[in-house]
Symmetry: C2
Subunit: 236 residues, 2 copies
DNA sequence: ACTTCCCACATCCTATAGGATTATCGGAGC
DNA sequence: GCTCCGATAATCCTATAGGATGTGGGAAGT
């Protein structure tokens, strides 16, 4: 296929729109902006040294993800924080998606098991560091971001192996909302040990070969996450 | 600038982007375009008497629905027809979504039952006319479109009453793909009687008050639809 | 002092123009 | 006859400009 993978840096041309999209996306995911803050087209265009047109396209794409809201003739804003009801619905949707994906991936091949173990160990490793920092009273923002990425990565393994692109798409859409929730509602990582243990239980269930065990373990995990998060949302 | 800004082809006053989006969407859903056909920005802009910018925004929005594909620096095209594997995945996703929505809507209030009955009668009424036309050997395209709309409407009732906006969003996304499938893969409506009967069974299950009956009826219905469609796809 | 009206500023939205890239078609060479 | 190559045309992509709309502040009136 591609003759020389070595020099693909200069001719990476895929339009400004995608670059602008990624920049704004990571800006949103980094959490530096308050919900409701204005996202002026011209302002962003000036900051990125591009014209308003690609910025506008990127905003349309972002609007579809739910991270930004648009009011006609008034401009774009950072989406308001998720309400308690939205939070519950989000967890319900995720429960449906991931249990189904787990069921579809149930006859676990050896490569799935390997990937799952790798993701789980990564998650556990970072989780341990997070727990240490938490005991020391420190809050390490980059570390927590890394932790969330590892957690997302673990779940992504199953979605990638369920063999259904629509489920994967839905999961990625929900993933953006989930990230937003973690920034606004939750302030830290209150349940590292529980999450790591439950992930390990899922891996064990897959390794056991029982056909219904993985779904049961995943259901338990997600219901626990839901319960912990909603309890935290209500104010401890 | 344009000669007469006052009467621009029935375009109202809330931003051209949404209007352009709707126009292109109904153009795609009407089925007048071959899969793979080019969707030139400037061409569409000229046809609708607007500038390329709102057309471009509408295309970004459409790309997210899966109805059109985009190749950087090459333009937009009508998405290729769904393969057999995509078809199966689509039905699996729909099965997951609708059974879950049915379960969530299970304690049926009287207003849900009323809406469901109304939608079911509408579906049955149009279905009868479709069957008559089918017996007479005629193929009435507007009538089949109306039939599909009624079928979609029946399922939409449940999604609207499940109380979860994410499930509703997913269903609408899948709905576009479903519509596309009906245009390409299926040519007519081969299973009017079965579909009407199964919808009636779903309504009855809701009316019975049994907590698990609606989910079971809906599962049976969707599995039957899946089986009939895939059999047709394989070529009778 | 409070409300209302009006005007100036900022921003969004659309239109037009030009550079860059890709597809197409005709012709030369093997 | 087939392949390769170059020029032309069409299209996409980005940038810039101007009209339309919403917003905020100040002055006048009650």
């Amino acid at each position: 296929m591609s003759a020389n993978p070595g020099l693909r840096g200069g001719i990476e041309r895929r339009g400004l729109r995608d670059h602008v999209y990624e920049r704004i996306l990571e800006l949103l995911l980094s959490g530096g902006l308050e919900p409701g803050a204005r996202l002026g087209i011209d302002t962003i265009a000036r900051d990125l040294d591009v014209s308003p047109t690609p910025v506008r396209e990127a905003m349309v794409q972002l609007e579809r993800t739910g991270l930004v809201t648009r009011e006609a003739l008034k401009g774009y804003r950072v989406a308001p924080p998720l309400g308690a009801d939205q939070l519950a619905e989000l967890f319900d949707a995720r429960l449906m998606l991931e249990t189904t994906a787990t069921r579809m991936a149930a006859p676990a091949g050896p490569e799935l098991l390997a990937e799952l173990r790798r993701a789980q160990q990564q998650h556990a490793r970072i989780g341990e560091r997070v727990a240490e920092a938490l005991d020391a009273g420190r809050v390490d923002l980059p570390l927590t971001a890394e932790y969330f990425a590892a957690d997302t990565g673990f779940h992504a393994v199953l979605l990638h192996h369920c063999g259904n692109r629509y489920l994967l798409d839905m999961s990625e859409t929900l993933g953006a909302q989930l990230h937003r929730m973690r920034q606004t509602a939750l302030r830290g990582v209150p349940d590292v040990e529980e999450a790591v243990a439950e992930h390990a239980a899922v891996v064990e269930a897959f390794a056991s070969g029982e056909i219904d065990a993985p779904v049961a373990a995943m259901t338990r995990h997600l219901q626990n996450v839901r319960e912990r998060s909603l309890r935290l949302e209500r104010g401890d």
